[in-house]
Every structure is written in structure tokens, then in C-alpha cells.
Amino acid sequence: MAIKAPKIDLRTSPYIRRAPSVPQIMRNVVYALIPLVIFSVIHFGISALALILMTTLSCVATEHLFCKLSAKKTTITDFSAVITGLLLAMTLPPGFPLWMGVIGGFVAIAMGKTLFGGIGFNVFNPALVGRAFLQAAFPVSITTWTPTQVADRFIDFIPSTLALPFMRPEETAQWTAQVATDGFTGATPLALMKFQQVITESSSLFFGSVTGSAGETSALLILLCGGYLIFRNMLDWRIPAAVIFGTAISAEFFHLIDPDAPRALFMILSGGLMFAAVFMASDMVASPITPVGIFVFGMVVGFLTVLIRLYGAMTEAVMYAILFGNAATPLIESFTQPKIYGARKK
């Protein structure tokens, strides 16, 4: 034979693969979160930036540490820890003490992710595990909201941000009184709705000119960022759609029972709902994969969100609703397996 025998490589079909790989998907989610980071920094200043950096660093360091402890190859290169850190920061008040943020990041990764076996095995969304822990541990700090667009926000830290570890953070009320120009009450739209029966204008909610957690205030921006991921085929649009739909239906249902309850539009645009629907509920690992299951999941999360918001003692409804939805995912999947091609009549 004339040809030289090549070195032959053996694999199994298919021999062609479609991008993207998991690290590529995760990297793109990070890209999609960057506009939200920028918005929150413009909105809340250097305190928000410091908080975002600290939670992210904490998450990445924790993941690296646990990989080292279990003598595994480090998994921080897949960027999923970065996402957890960013998501966690986005759900915290901008003046949240940094040391608490670090603990939150540690808990999110350690107890929400590596404890279950790392990426792909977590039962709950790690960022929400971190936040739930912070909610329980630091109920005051996590509900202390600060005004937006403060004049010196890029130079001055919000006083509570720099609290020393394990020290009670400085009261922000005095600082807030100094910087706030127009009767800032320190209440988010949801708190206003819940405790003072004031419904904030939908347009302020949509464009984000209200107070709240760092990344949750502008529904428009969240939709644009989510739209990018959907466009790149890296986010399953059905999950956010199902959650938003579930919330809207439930809100209208409760509005029918009690006309004082807010309508669907307010429920969708206020609080962390939009952010949670697009970035939290859609955590691939912890949400259902069957088409019917995704719909059921969205309905459950939406219903629980509205229920907790209206009747619960707190306003952090979406978080608990999604954590519950995550826990129910294996159950939902077990009765929503897809019907196969050519399934015969029974």
C-alpha cells in the first residue's frame, strides 16, 4: 500500500458536537449579569460594588478550598461559583455588611453546592441557600434598605458596609436621614404594599427607580439580560415564562378574593420576582427538565410567591417559593415524564 498508516483514534459516535460547553454557558450567564452589576453600582454606589466583589470572591474561594480538601481538580474554571456569588450579591441590600456577605458566599457554596457533590448535584439554588441563611442569621441587616442615587455614593461607603466582622453594624438611619432628600422611608415597594397599603407605580418598578436589593430593581434591564441568554440558547425561556405566568394568574386570583390585594402587574414587577424568575428559578440543576414539569414548577413557584407575599410575615416570598419549588422538583418530574413518540393507546 502506498499510504502511510496514520495513527488511528477511536471514539464512539456522534463525532461532531455542538457548542456550547458548560463553562461557555456559565461564562455567558456572567456576561448577562454584568449590566445588572453596572446598574446596581450606578444606582447604589461603591458599597454595592464592594459587596458584589466580596460575595463573588468568597464563593470562588470556598469552591476552590473544598475542591482542594476533597483532593479534586478545582472546578472554579467552570464559572458557576462566580454566578452564585453575583446572584447572591444581587439579592442583598446594598449596605449589607461585607463580612456577612462573605459568610453568605461561604454558606451558599459549602452548604448549597459542594455538600451535595458540586455542580450538577445541588438540590437547591446555591445562591438562595446562602441568602436564606443570611435571612435567618441577620434579619435586621438584610432588611435595612438605603436610598438610591445618593450624591456621594461613589466616594462614600454606606456606614454599615464596613462593619467589622462579628460586630453589630452601625445604624444607618442617621446616615439615611442625612443623605436622603425627599422623605425616604427605607421601605421597598413590597414593604410599602404590605405594611402601608401603598402600591408603587408600575413604571418606577419597570425602570428601577426604587429601592431594594442591589440587582433586583429594574425589571426592564433584567428582561434584556435574560433575553440575551435566551437568544444565545443558554437559558430555557420556558422557566421564567412559567414563573411569571404562575405569579400573574395567582395574583389575579387573590385579587378576585380580596380586591385590596395588588394586581398581577405589580406582583410581577416588584421585589425580586423578575430577577428570580429569570436568573434564580432557571438554575438548570435545581429545576425540572420535563416540559410539563417546567410548567407545574412555574405555577407552584408563582402561587407560593403570591401567597407568602400576601399572608406571610416577611416580604422575601420568591426566595422561599423557589427553594420549595427546588425541593419539589424530583416529585414534579416523577409524574411529568414525557410521552414518547408512538406511545400506544392504553
Binding site: P6, Y15, R18, S21, P338
Partner: protein
């Protein structure tokens, strides 16, 4: 018409909805790049190799039984192995020469199987034996099927299922439509495309024979919409009575699977674990029918087939008429292969198999030889499943590959079969193709199915 034994559900609703608006397709599937660079290359004959290796098992069913002995002179087209039972086909010499020996050889399946090796007498004219002329219009249905069996015909689309078995429709079934599968949805491969352009008359004759064999009134040729030239080439030659029509369906993988083609063309589903005949369909590959149309009237046998030779590091990629049993080395030599490291794939990139040696021969089911540069094919590491649900959205059978893959990792093969319909998987590989974690899902399923089969025996 048949009453469908299928449970109606939303997937079929969508398919029929799109069909109403003129878009013929099926649910799910993928759109890989086509890479069909050889589609305009006319079929050329490959020079005869110095020897051919003819494995006795070239089709689904029992291997043929050798009827030659070492040192025997055989002529091109002479019977060298006879069928063993009904689901088995005879084998004919693809070159004139001397039978060297019968020994175990490495095949594309990765196993060693008995094969007849024939040393080519290069000095001879290599004329194929004249067969008994047959007038297909006067032959009875049974005689036609027997003739198809005698020529050693199998499905040339890749599955290599004996054609005469397929044509023997169960008594309680009445075929209303023959579907002629010209989709060729595998990337890179262009043999069906060339056959449809170059052998229109053989194809039409083959379809007429097939209609008679299964006693059906009409046939539809289904091609993918990326083969518009075929549409124009065939249309003028269709019989005026409208018994044969041609329709374009969406270019999508795996459109060439029987089930997907039936759904795209007619908006029906072939029942799970059932045959197309159950809903009145018979489905044949175009090249199979074109070869029947060419060979049956002459009474000759199947001894060669078109193979697409394509990929990296080839000076002369193209479509070649290759004698059965030609070793890979001969084909690559002729196609001007220059690579130093490569993956040699028999078949297409989605469902083909790697050859472990250059001595592996082509068989009746080999439609393509694909050479992939190792650098281009290097896979990433396998990561855990992140439950992105992309595989569920790709699976044309609507299985749950993610769940199946996790069960396979836990070796719960029986659960996969009983609860998650493992046996409906036909190895199309869409799930592996889309998996961002690089999990070799379809390979897990192949292993699981093989182990289950062994367990049931």
C-alpha cells in the same frame, strides 16, 4: 386508511399544524452543519483492490454460509455464500479472482468476524456475470420478492436490514403508501443524493417493483429541502398517473429515520416497538430501490455500492462506486489521504463507527468513509449533567436522555428499559450532540441495550 393505534398528543398536533401551512417536519431533532461538499461530485468507479474481504455477516439477521473452498476460482458476481434461513441474505463475489482463505477479520463493528478473502485476478476483464433476464412486469409478487432476496439486497441506507423481509408484509396488513427515503440527513454523506441525480430511471423502476412487491397503490419520495436539484431532476420522469410523487421535507437530523420521515410526510406516528406496516406504510431507502431497479431486470446481484469518501486531509474526496469488501487502505490511498493522525469513520458522523485498522472492509451498509483530523475531533472532558434539558428538546422520540443517562451511570439498566422506554431509542445521537457536559449519552444507551439483550437471553 388505518385507524391510528397511537395516543394522540400535542407533538403530533404541532406537526400537523405546521404541515397544514406547508412545512413538513417532525418534533425535536437537531440542525448540524451539513458539510455536504461532495454533493456535486459525480460517481466514479474505484480501481479494483488487490484483494477483497467479504464478511459473511453483512446484514441484520443470520450470517451467510460459505459455499466456496480455498483456492477456488470465482467470477465477479458468482455466489460465494448462501442465505441461512429467511432473515439472512446470500453473498456474491465482488471481484474475479481466487478464494484465498476464510478467516476472522476485524470489522467496523469492532468485532472479529469470519470473512471470505478473494485475491483479485487483475488481468481479467472484471465483467460481472450475466444473470437470467427477468421481466419484472410479468413476474408475480412472490417471485419478485424471491428475486430481491436472491440478489442479496439489504437496506443500503445504513441499517442493512434484508429488503426481502421488509417486502414480506404480514398477512393482516394492507400497505396504502410506500415511502421512498431520500433524506440522507447524516452530515457529509452524499450517496443518496448522487443516486437520485444519476439513476432516475433505475429509481423509478425500483419504486415500481417495490409497489408491486408490497401491493401498494402509491409511493412518495421524501427528500430534504436542501436537495432542490433532485426535485427538478426527478419531477419530469414521474409517471403521469400520479402513483409516484416527490415531496421536500425540512432539512433536519434525523429526518432520514423511518419514523421521522413518516411523521414529516404524512403526519402520523409509527407505533412504539411496532413496524410501519402496522399503519399501512412500507419505507425503503432510495439507493436500495435504485439498485433493485438496475439489477433485478438483469438478474444480477449486489456486489458494489456507492460510498462517499470525504473529510480532512483528502486530495480527492468524492463519491465512488466501490466493490464490496474493499479495504479502507485502498480507498484512502486512491482518495489521496495524507494525514498522520486521524479518525476513520464508516458511515456518517452521527451514527457511524470508528474503524480500528486500515484493513477494515466496506460492507453493504457502508455509505460513507469519513476521515476526521484528530485535532478537530478532540472532545472535552465529561462534566456532570447540569439538567439543562437540551437533550429532551433534541430527542426525536421524546425520551428523557438526561434521566436515562443518570440511570445508566448507576447501572440500573432494567429501570431504563421498563420505566423510561430505552428500547425506543434508535441511536440517532441527538442527545450526545447537544449535551454541553459532553456526556456520551447515546453510547451509554447502546451499552445498556446490549446488556439488556444479553440478560434476557
Amino acid at each position: 386508511m388505518y385507524e391510528s393505534p397511537i395516543e394522540n398528543y400535542r407533538g403530533l398536533f404541532l406537526v400537523n399544524f405546521l404541515k397544514f401551512f406547508g412545512k413538513k417536519t417532525f418534533s425535536h431533532g437537531i440542525h448540524p452543519p451539513e458539510y455536504k461538499e461532495t454533493h456535486h461530485k459525480e460517481t466514479r468507479r474505484l480501481p479494483f483492490p488487490s484483494h477483497v474481504i467479504l464478511p459473511l455477516a453483512q446484514s441484520i439477521g443470520k450470517p451467510a454460509v460459505s459455499v466456496v473452498h480455498k483456492g477456488q476460482q470465482v467470477e465477479r458476481g458468482e455466489l460465494i455464500a448462501k442465505a441461512d434461513g429467511f432473515v439472512s441474505v446470500p453473498l456474491y463475489a465482488s471481484v474475479t479472482g481466487v478464494v484465498k482463505e476464510t478467516e476472522l477479520v476485524l470489522t467496523a463493528r469492532g468485532t472479529r468476524e469470519p470473512a471470505i478473502i478473494i485475491e483479485t485476478a487483475l488481468s481479467s476483464g472484471q465483467r460481472q456475470l450475466e444473470g437470467v433476464q427477468r421481466d419484472f412486469e410479468t413476474l408475480s409478487r412472490q417471485d419478485l420478492i424471491k428475486a430481491v432476496w436472491d440478489m442479496g439486497m439489504v437496506g443500503l441506507g445504513g441499517a442493512a436490514f434484508p429488503t426481502h423481509v421488509k417486502m414480506s408484509i404480514p398477512k393482516d396488513c394492507k400497505i396504502h403508501t410506500v415511502l421512498v427515503n431520500g433524506c440522507e440527513c447524516e452530515p457529509f454523506l452524499t450517496t443518496d443524493h448522487r443516486v437520485m441525480l444519476e439513476q432516475v430511471h433505475n429509481l423509478i423502476r425500483g419504486i415500481t417493483i417495490a409497489l408491486k412487491c408490497v401491493d401498494a397503490p402509491k409511493a412518495i419520495i421524501g427528500i430534504e429541502s436542501n436537495k432542490q436539484d433532485v426535485l427538478e431532476a426527478i419531477k419530469p420522469h414521474l409517471p403521469s398517473d400520479g402513483s409516484i410523487t416527490i415531496e421536500a421535507v425540512e432539512t433536519k437530523y434525523p429526518q432520514g429515520a423511518e419514523k421521522m420521515l413518516a411523521t414529516a410526510l404524512l403526519g402520523v406516528e409509527i407505533p412504539s416497538k411496532g413496524l410501519p406496516s402496522e399503519i399501512g406504510l412500507a419505507i425503503f431507502n432510495v439507493t436500495t430501490l435504485a439498485e433493485i431497479g438496475r439489477l433485478l431486470p438483469r438478474g444480477q446481484a449486489l456486489i458494489e455500492r456507492i460510498v462517499t469518501v470525504t473529510g480532512d486531509d483528502l486530495a480527492k474526496p468524492g463519491n465512488y462506486q466501490v466493490p464490496l469488501g474493499t479495504p479502507l487502505s485502498h480507498i484512502l490511498d486512491y482518495a489521496g489521504f495524507t494525514g498522520e493522525e486521524a479518525e476513520l469513520i464508516l458511515g456518517g458522523p452521527m451514527m457511524g463507527m470508528s474503524a480500528a485498522s486500515l484493513d477494515v472492509p466496506t460492507t453493504k451498509g457502508t455509505g460513507g468513509i469519513l476521515v476526521l483530523d484528530k485535532r478537530a475531533t478532540k472532545g472535552d472532558d465529561i462534566m456532570p449533567c447540569i439538567k439543562c434539558s437540551l437533550c429532551l428538546q433534541a430527542c426525536p422520540i421524546n425520551l428523557n436522555p438526561s434521566e436515562l443517562g443518570q440511570l445508566a451511570a448507576k447501572r440500573q439498566y432494567d429501570v431504563m428499559e421498563e420505566k423510561y422506554n430505552l428500547n425506543d431509542c434508535f441511536d440517532c445521537g441527538c442527545c450526545s450532540y447537544v449535551c454541553p457536559s459532553n456526556i456520551p449519552l447515546v453510547q451509554y444507551f447502546r451499552i445498556a441495550k446490549t446488556l439488556n439483550r444479553q440478560r434476557h437471553q
